[in-house]
Structure formats: C-alpha cells, structure tokens
Amino acid sequence: MSVDATPALDAGPDPEQQTALRRSGRYLATHPHWVLVFVLIVLILITGMIEPNYLSVSGLRNSALFAAPIGILAAGQTILMLTAGIDLSIAMIATGAAYFAANQSPNGPVLAIVGALVVGIVAGALNGVGVGVFQVNPLIMTLAMSGILLGLFTEWAQTIFAGSTRMNDFIRTLGGGSFFGGRIPWAVVVWATLSLLVVYLLRRSGFGRNLYALGDNTVASRLSGVRSWQVLLAAYTIAGVFGAIAGILLGGRVGAVDLQLAGVFLLPSVAAAVIGGTSIFGGVGTYTGTILGALILAVLNSMLNFLGVGTAVQQMLYGSIIIGLSWLYTRIAATQ
C-alpha cells in the first residue's frame, strides 16, 4: 500500500479496489434483476458444460418443474418478508395440504384440491391471527405452528390419513405432467398464473402498497390508518394458500405423500426471496426478483445433481447462500 500516492484517502487497504467493489455493489443495488438474469444464464451455461444434455427441452423442463413449487412457496415468503415477517410453517402446511389432497383423492380432484386449500387457509389464518392480532413474533408464531402441524400430521398419518398416500391422477398430471409435446409442465403454468397475480398484487393494489408500508414503518402505517392486523391476517392466509398449492403440486409430482414431502423446500423458499433481493427486515423487495431467485436455485439444483452432490450438501449450500447474501445486502444498504 502506497500512502504517498493517495494522500487524500486515509483508510482502506486498496482504495481503487474498494471503490470498484462499492460501485459494483451500488449497481447490484439499483439494477438487481439484471445481475440475477446474468447469474441465471451463467449457471445454465455452466450446467450445460458439465452435462451437455441439460441444454435441451427436457433438461430445462426439469429445472422449471423443480422451480415451480419453490417459486410458489417463495411467493408466500416474499409477501411476508415485505412486512418484516416470515412463514417457517409453510413447508409443513404444504405437506399437510398434500395429505388432505391424497386423503380426498378417491373422491375426485375437486374435493382433493379444495380440501388441501382449506388446510392452507386455516393454518395461514391462524398464523395471521397470532402475528396480526396478538402480535406474536412471526418467527416464533410460525415455528410453533410448524411444530404443532408436524405433531398433528404425525398423529393423523397413523389414523385419519392411514392409507391416503396416493394422489389423484388429475393432481399427478398437474404436479408432474406436461403438455405441448411434453415441453411445458402444468406446474409451471400454475406458477406463471400465480406469478402474474402476485406481481400485480404487490405493484398495483392497495393491499400491496400497505405491505410495503407496514414493513418499512409499522407505527407510521398504523397512525396513517392502515388496518395492520387485517393486512397481516390476509398476508399470512395468502402465504398459507400458496403453501397448500405448492403442496398439491409437490404431492402430484411425487405421486405419493409422506411427512418429509415439503420439508426440504423451506430453506430454498426463503433463499429464493433473499437471492431476489427481498429484505428480511421488510419494506424492500419484488416478486420478479424472487422468481429469478427460484430459477437460479433450480438450475443450481440440477448442476449439483449432475455433479453427484447430495441433498445434505445442497441444504448446506442454501443456508450459506442465505447467510452470505443477507450479509451482502446489509452491507449495501449500509453504504447507501
């Protein structure tokens, strides 16, 4: 380090490098989506180099199929993270919804799907009442809910749900099937439809506006007349419904249900939102970013599978991504 060359600057190991880092950080902060698109394309190409067959309709289709449930779960997380909340029970809700769908499968797809959605609505609304009305910390509320649901479903798996492990054919097609010559998975169509709805809700509705306001300044929002408990109740219920839809798709893709069905998707659902630039502290984020986050995770998953890396290491990686990016975004926010 030459002190003489840079007399104006008194700190920092290498000022030039530091400003370059800061400039790229600022670019990432103002144009996050382009960075994510770039990362996604690079990951796809790298995966293609590892396994050339990946760059085909079926290879990319598999990634999209994997991304759909993550993206739908992450939609719930994004909505809640905007309010500075989170849903740690969303994977358990998904599993429970899948159980209900399987249980009702002999009675036809309509009852199966409605049954699953009811699970999501009830569990989500309970979370919403806890957080919105009784002001329980979201982490505590949803962690406890997750535990309660796990106990409940473990009990019911032996009794009410005994034998209800097989999904209705319609749901199997919805979760794992494709159309247009096997190119486009139905699950992706479901995800795309929900995506349009969520993007619209966040950008154009009063509800979306209130989510951002609540996450940024709860007190100001309340004083301005935002009915915070109603907004939170709605947000957690929507997250529960998204959990249920993801559960239906996952159950349909796997074809059978067990208690571990959706558990591994909890961490990726948070990771997708964090990668997409949604702040855990609330008030900042878009669903477009989360969609890109989910796609990145799906490609990463394919890559790791080709490399023969197991689920355990993948979970470690997701955890590390969350920690690393949270740190990075905090740094960026601090320099602004």
Binding site: S205, A213, G215, D216, N217, S221, L223, G225, G283
Partner: protein, 258 residues
C-alpha cells in the same frame, strides 16, 4: 373568538401511579393557531395522544364542533377531520410522496387497482395549494427528501383529507433556519385557510411568530392561556417553569388518606 371547533373538558390520564394529565381544559378554534407549550413531562404529548385516540383519556370529555364525541382509535380521530403530524413524521421511507400521502386511504379504481393518476393529481394539487414548491417530483421516495420537505409532505398529507383540525408535534425541532421559515409560513397558511391548528413546540421564538394563543401545561395541568399580542416570552417562560398549579402533586393523595 369564535366557538372552538375542538374542546377538551377536564381530561385526565394516568399511567400506573403517574398522573400525566389532571383535569385539563384545552380548546382551539377554526382559523386559529393554538400553541401548546410546557416543559418535558408536562403532558403535551399525552394530551395529543388522547385526542389522537392512541391513549384514550381516563375521564373528561371531548367536544368536536359543539357535540360530544368518543375517540377510541386513530381512525376515529381521522373520521372527525382531526389530523396529527407526528414528530417523527410517520412517513414510510420506501414509498414515494404520493403513496405516503394516501397511505391507508388509497384510492382504487374498479375495486382492486390503485388509481395512481388520480392520487398523483390530488397530491400535486394539495402541495401546490400549500405553496410547497421545493419537491423535485411527487414520485420520488420520501427517503431522499430533506427534513423540511418531509415536514411539508407530512403536513400536506394531513390537510388533504378536508381536515378541520391539524395538530403538529414539534414541526420545527429538527430543521434549519430556512426550513423552519418554510414550515412556519405553511402553518400560518393553514390557519388562514380556516383550519384550526395546534402546534407543539419548545421554541418560543417560533411560537411567538406564528401562534394566536398559547396554552401552557405544567406537571399535567393547564396553568395558563395567553393571547400572543397580550403577553411576552418572559411571562410564558414563567408559566412553564413556575405556573400556579390547582392541585399540588402529592397533596391529592394525602387528602385521600386523611
């Protein structure tokens, strides 16, 4: 002075053993700037929060436009046409000026979709009518505004709703000289438009510049009401620090035991 639009009669509030307000009368009339002064802990904020519906009063009554009203939540206050501009301004930094002005009362077209165009034009109209000209764009986020601009936005937000009473909590506390000037001019314009304005401040200089009357609180009681042109800063300072109390703290309890 005309009939007051807002009048509190004998309002009291205690937090546990602490008597924050004791049988306080307070009033403000349309077209008038009423200053509310007092030392720290005199009960200014408690009085405002009672009117705001954040901490409802234990006893006493609130008269609005001559009739008794009950206020239990901030929404009740807003419904009456009373708007409060809080010291920390109660703005969401991540939203733009228009979004903040309509926060909690968003206008929607066909049920769900935000009617941005109509909200933007209303916001701009209100800001123009208050001669707030320093904003570069009503679409910039509040995070990028100066203290004076934020104050202007908060005030514009308060008057946009055809409010009849606007209460400003320390509006000039964090501002520089020029920005203070802007805000005080704004306060005067509000009163000239026929609104009743209550301004809380520690700065007597600001108050003597803008207020018509001055209510002094001391230790939770009202000790004096002055007309600005009939009083001096010394007299007000004396009331703030040594105004005669109707009930000496401690006495009340002793009487109860006797």
């Amino acid at each position: 002075m005309t009939e007051p639009i807002l009048r509190c009669e004998g309002v009291s509030k205690h937090f546990g053993a602490v008597q924050a307000l004791y049988k306080v009368d307070f009033e403000v009339a349309s077209g008038e700037v009423m200053a509310l002064v007092g030392d720290n802990g005199a009960g200014k904020s408690t009085l405002i929060k009672g009117i705001a519906g954040i901490y409802p009063f234990d006893e006493g009554q609130i008269l609005f436009d001559g009739s008794r009203v009950r206020i239990h939540s901030p929404r009740d206050t807003a419904a009456l046409g009373i708007e409060i501009v809080y010291q920390d301004l109660a703005l969401a930094d991540n939203l733009d000026v228009v979004a903040n002005m309509f926060l909690g009362r968003e206008r929607v077209a066909n049920g769900v979709v935000l009617d941005e165009a109509s909200m933007e034009s209303s916001a701009r109209e209100t800001l123009d009518s208050l001669a707030v000209t320093t904003l570069r764009s009503v679409r910039q986020t509040v995070a990028g505004l100066s203290g004076g601009q934020r104050q202007s936005v908060a005030v514009a937000k308060a008057v946009m709703w055809n409010s009849k009473v606007v209460i400003l909590d320390e509006p000039t506390a964090a501002l520089g000289v020029a920005q203070t000037r802007q805000v005080l001019d704004l306060v005067r314009r509000l009163a000239d438009r026929g609104l009743a304005v209550v301004i809380i401040s520690h700065n007597l200089h600001d108050i003597f510049e803008v207020a018509d009357r001055i209510t002094v609180l001391r230790l939770g009681q009202r000790v004096a009401v002055f007309r600005r042109e009939e009083t001096t800063q010394q007299e007000v300072v004396h009331a703030i620090t040594a105004g005669t109390l109707n009930v000496v703290p401690g006495m009340q309890k002793d009487e109860g035991y006797a």
